[in-house]
Symmetry: C2
Subunit: 276 residues, 2 copies
């Protein structure tokens, strides 16, 4: 479940967690940018509505893609693990240049798609250049270490975040979504404090982190992207704390980035808009 | 945090989760086999007692290694994240042919070592051939997806297992330890049900899963190794279940293996002792 290997002479596709807030996202530059990356009017867009239980979830995004000039749009009817082995569905998935996963429940994505041929197709596709976006639950699912369940609040507490394996397109970041709106700094810090190797990305609604093939993030949308860098944590009381009790953490670094700002996951450096 | 890449012409070292039960392990063939793999009398054994808060934890294992004829034994004094950047400690770690991590609390290992130079050394070492064993907490820590916290019982329940990123020597398995002794089938099934891509390994006390460079497991010791194969799960109610409620799972495959039996993680096939 680590990222699939990128074939020689190819570039990994962009990985695009979006913070949710569907109404706002529909008219924002986020989906437009996704379509441009995926080939503009020639894009072959695939929508995976599995996280949601609303029949309309995929159609709403398809309508936006249509408005943006895309004609080749498929909403995949993936409800069960057997669907993930259906040759017709896999063919459409293999042909995509861009993928969008709707919001809903990230455990529905992981339990339905995890370990199936559809997961392999998505992982291999991204490794050879297919761009994969997800909003809300879809955003959480792109990660190797996915926040599956959690509680609100600013202070990290032991057990506040439950992790599960996600799709595993990247293991460099742990994503949390509806970030400012649902007060999730505590649970993102908790998730990182278990093992401070990854970088935390808290994505506000109508905001997206476009993670490039070079692992540099570009921010799009109207909200903020909160970067939580635990690499310089000197002390953490996580191991010696009871369930539900606050966790002491010394040395967490935080950045709040807005549209146009960038963050390099390799060097852990942030760049305000317009800087080199 | 996916496994480090094995350099050309080299073989990954063995990964050896042990199920705990220190008193029994001391006189069992498990540590003997670890020493043989690591070079016998020429082995350079390193002990990491970080998971434990008992001062004697490392010394007891060192005594066993000594009895087995090893003269080059280092107990590394890793208590803080700063220790994981100490050049003297890193030098000893880089020189090891075999590593043993004691039991205690796996979150102490993850919070102290995760993301540090010591973690990089262990991961790169294993990739180029260093054998890494861990008992109890040390066994949990070898995985990419580590069971950090959990409850006892046979029925899987949502939230029964909390995962955290581990050392990440392998992402093919999720290990649980003291398996039969602490009634942990439920929590291992829960951990796998979040995303059924990995294979579950429940390791009884005084029992070890020797995971070879070819990802074939050999069982050693007096207890059982429970293999939980979720790859054929057709249905799971995990995504639609409330916290603490039982999870319905259809299609889990189980194997109970004993000393001498083998399991191939690539083909998901089990081989009784003596078979080809």
């Amino acid at each position: 479940m680590s990222p699939a290997q990128t074939p020689k002479n190819l570039q990994r596709g962009w990985i695009i967690p979006i913070g949710g807030g569907d109404r706002k996202v529909r008219s924002s530059p986020i989906l437009q940018r996704l379509v441009e990356l995926s080939g503009g009017a020639d894009a072959r867009m695939v929508i995976i509505p599995t996280a949601s239980q609303l029949e309309t979830a995929g159609q709403r995004t398809a309508d936006v893609f249509k408005e943006l000039g895309v004609t080749n749009i498929e909403i995949l009817d993936i409800e069960t693990r057997a669907d993930c082995e259906n040759p017709e569905i896999l063919e459409k998935l293999d042909a995509a240049t861009g993928v969008f996963m709707t919001g809903g429940n990230q455990l529905r994505l992981a339990t339905t798609i995890g370990g199936t041929s559809a997961a392999k197709s998505l992982r291999a596709g991204n490794a050879r250049g297919v761009h994969i976006a997800g909003t809300s639950a879809g955003a959480a699912f792109v990660c190797e270490h996915m926040i599956a369940i959690g509680k609100s609040g600013g202070t990290p507490k032991r057990g506040m975040a439950s992790l599960a394996p996600g799709l595993g397109l990247t293991n460099r970041v742990i994503v949390d979504q509806h970030f400012r709106e649902r007060d999730r700094l505590g649970r993102l810090m908790t998730a990182l404090a278990y093992n401070p190797f990854a970088t935390g990305i808290g994505v506000d609604e109508d905001t997206a982190a476009f993670i490039g093939p070079d692992d540099v993030i570009e921010v799009f949308g109207s909200g903020g992207l909160t970067i939580v860098d635990p690499s310089e944590i000197e002390f953490s009381s996580m191991a010696d704390t009871n369930m539900g009790a606050p966790v002491g953490l010394i040395g967490v670094k935080l950045h709040i980035l807005l549209a146009g700002d960038r963050y390099d996951l390799n060097t852990r450096k942030a760049f305000p808009i317009g800087s080199e």
